[in-house]
Amino acid sequence: MDALLEWSWLIIAFPLLGLLINLISTGYTRERMAGIVASMAAAASFGMALMVFAALLSRPPEARLVEVTLYQWAIVPPLTAEVGLRIDPLSIAMALIVTLVGTLIHVYSIGYMAGDPHIRRFFMFLNLFLASMLLLVLADNFLILFVGWELVGLCSYLLIGFWFETPYNAWAGRKAFIVNRIGDFGFTLGLLLLFWTFGTFRYGPIFEAAEHGAVEAGVATLITLLLFAGVTGKSAQIPLYVWLPDAMAGPTPVSALIHAATMVTAGVYLIARAHPLFELAPLTQGVITLVGAATALWAALIAIGQFDLKRVLAFSTISQLGYMVAAAGAGAVGAAIFHLGTHAFFKALLFLGAGSVIHALEHAHRHHPDASPFDPNDMRRMGGLARRMPITFWTFGIGAAALAGLPPLAGFWSKDEILAALGKAGGWTALAYGLLVAAAFLTAFYMTRQVAMIFAGAPRSAAAGHAHESPAVMTVPLMIFAFFSVGVGWINAPGLGALSAWLEPGYPPVFHPEQALLATLVALAGIGTAWAIYRPQAWPEGVEDPLRPALRGFFTALTRKLYVDELYDVLFVRPFERAARAVADVVEPYGIDGAVHAVARLVGSLASGVRRWSSGYVRQYGLSVLIGAVLLVFYILWMLR
């Protein structure tokens, strides 16, 4: 079995192989085969991850760490870096989540993207996305993690702007790229400092040094805060979460991939991976916990005022990432990864369910167009889809319930573990706990609102009235994800605790009945409140949203995402662009080049007799070269005299 571990780089290589095959394949069938090739590559990667997992499982818990060094990357002593993989419970758990969810999304995309003229490009990007994420997860040092980190950013840029003919999509991709680079600015500084502090990028020696207290607390705080800046970009936390709601401009499977398995989980993984480092910096941990909890509540609040069904899910992702970040910040790494895993399944389910709804509405609209402007994402123009799309309805409902945290679905167990971990600590963590409980209420509220608006009552548009269930290639992945959304929470349920035993042997998951009861009651209260407001009987016809009259101006603010984009625009984006234009249009031509021209004029006026020579005519230039050469010859002869 150990020989197998040496081959674990194949997990990353398979998606790259898929990319390569699609890149060089030619001929008529290549567009139709692209999805199949890419899906098989993803599945092979999952299979390999499974085998590596089995090989690791067969070892005793204390021997479940294998480092595979592939090759030397660059050597200028003392700067050394290897391309190497770290196969341990955490990285393999992540790899399994990424490849399993990724594979299912690949398969779903075959149906969703069928007929798209650029389908081959789509699957190439999707494969690259998967490979980049796997590189990030499996790397054995911070530098290679950063390579994966940036490549993931590139893929999201390419895929969010995949339908680039629409300027908004291209803009959204660019926004994601630039906002992530702001975070990466901090991350890179952290990386520089990290290397000069520890003299290596490798996790093993760094964590060992950290555990032996070989690093000052101040330095550790600075490093971790800088790394966390990167996390706020990648994992969409305050203040850099603004790219994620626009990231749903990409095709829906991409949204599912970004929100569930790849990209946004990278930041949580980083904190979990480097937790020995973060534990040296209590200040950073406090900041992370509070930022995470505040993000959870803030995003949940905004989600209430959204009408775009994917945008609701986007804000719910930000909110749920807040839970994970808060937990990871508080040192509850197991709980964070557990929630990351369960969230991957039910969020993928919700996005693919949303994709099924959008697909159905677009199809219906094509056959039954009505006069009003059509937006397949607008929940105000849906309603009554439960009867017309039963599979989508039931699976989406399961996903929503899992997200809301209803027992015994997946989200219940993992969210509970986070709350339990935060609840027992005091001080600032207690504040974070309070924020997260409030966010749990809002989560249940907005998911109920969403389900009610999409599926309950009567159709509010011709398209919704004529929608049909999606084809099997789309509904089967939905059912698989629904199955996992129900069942996956049990892997770390009390008494079983398989995930904890895997990640942190000797620390079984804690279960506090009173905590579980509280969380369930909060969720039920959220559902009840939302249903009271949004049930069809309570919702008069012609009212856009029953909450608007109740909240008035505040609801408008919520629909405008609390004006954060506008604020950033005024504070950062426009001054930034103005500065660029000022440099390009004023400083360069009139300032610097103006000085150059002034010097040229000065020289010219000092030697006005010679000025006519620099008229730009080649013949005159040639003459001056000749004269210069003659003078040079005389000069040399004089030297030699």
């Binding site: 291209a170 890179t188 660029a580 390009a584 400083v587 620099s614």
Partner: protein
Amino acid sequence: MTLFGYPIPILTLITFTPLLGAGIIALTPRDSVRLHRGLALFFSLIPLVLSAWLWLNLDLDQPGFQFVERAVWFPQVNANYYLGVDGLSVMLIFLTALLTPLGVLVSFNITEDPRTYFALFLALETGILGVFVSLDLLLFFLFWELGLVPMYFLINNWGAPERRHYAALKFILYTMAGSLGLLLGIQLIWAALGGMQGGTFDLLEVSRRWPALQGTLAGVPMEVVKAIVFWAFVIAFAIKVPVWPFHTWLPDAHTEAPTAGSMILAGILLKLGAYGFLRIVFPLFPTESTRFAIALALLATAAIVFGAYAALGQRDFKRLVAYSSVNHMGFVVLGIAVAGYALGNPAVRDYALIAVNGAALQLFAHGLSSAAMFALVGVVYDRTHTRDLEAYGGLWTRMPIYGGILIYCAMASVGLPGLAGFVAEYMVVQGSWPVFTTLTAIAMLGLLITGAFITKAIQKVLHGPLNPRWARLPEISAREILAVAPLMVFMLLTGLWPAWIVPTLNATLARLFG
């Protein structure tokens, strides 16, 4: 390597084969265009093959210069035809020999007097290669000037119609202003070292004698003479790099030059300045270099930030790419500044070695990415006859392969990990961080702005709805792909496995610090 018992003068062969080709092309009939192209390609491929051989046969463990050729050239002033290479110059020779045939390939669509064009283009290569092989200061200067003249004519006669005369004149006057000081400095060194009695242009001998030289020259204290020569050299090389704020000739020359001319300008000519710092300024002026290193680092940071800002504010595609060179060469200067600082501060030599290796690698990486970007700008310019970013839009629809290649090269230019630019820029900042911490942190802001301007370019050119003006635009041709593909291969190779090239550079640069 010997042939029939005689050593083969490999460096002479590499350097003068293009000039021979230029001469042969000049003798061919004026209208046999295919012959001109074929000859140009053939004579530019020979140095490529030879320089690859040269690299493979370079002995990294051997200190000093290799493949040395020496012949008496100008005995009266003790100037010699003295050639030799080490790791740094071999890398740059290879880069030159790689970019020239690709530039020839790009230039196949030149219709206006292709005979003269290709002859000049090959003569240009000889001028550049000569700089990299020269170990004699007078010879160095000769080749340095030799490269300017063909480039002037390439811009002036084959450039974009609107402002080519202005750009060509600005290019030649600005650089000549710099090289005037270079000539003066070289002569002062010769005179100070004894003039007719023991004066020398031999770079190795000068490096040994000059830094410790005391006394006076024509009544002027040696300290003053050294300061004059130092600044004369620094300004000459700073204009060439260009170091901010001596850069304003660059956007004009790069933008107005024909595509292949821009490739060579950005890909290699800028590297001459950095090469001058490493090869001449540092060995000759260790004390002065240390003293002014902080100023140089400051200017490097200004170049990185303001260059990126200026690129972001451009409306002209080619000008945007040109300004990105100011930004990327800023990282080279930063690495060089760290090395200069370390000359007098042995404590930071470990850091400086990393930074200066990064700077040298950045010469290679930027040579690849800037040449590729200019070639790709040329591809759309040839089809649309505009460089206005607002005039494009949605070209990816018409040119799917072109779009993929453009994004790939743009990402290499922006320093995406996995491609060459990242390794180089990362090594520079990693090395400069402990030495100039604040400046490095500010320079990293440039990373943010580069991301903004390169995605702006992609958005304006490729994204959005297809502008109906370009509804019949043809896809990138096989010839054009062939001109970029080798660069893409080297970008990926260097990004994934920089160890193929870094040891060559390190072997040379490590000796910079004795």
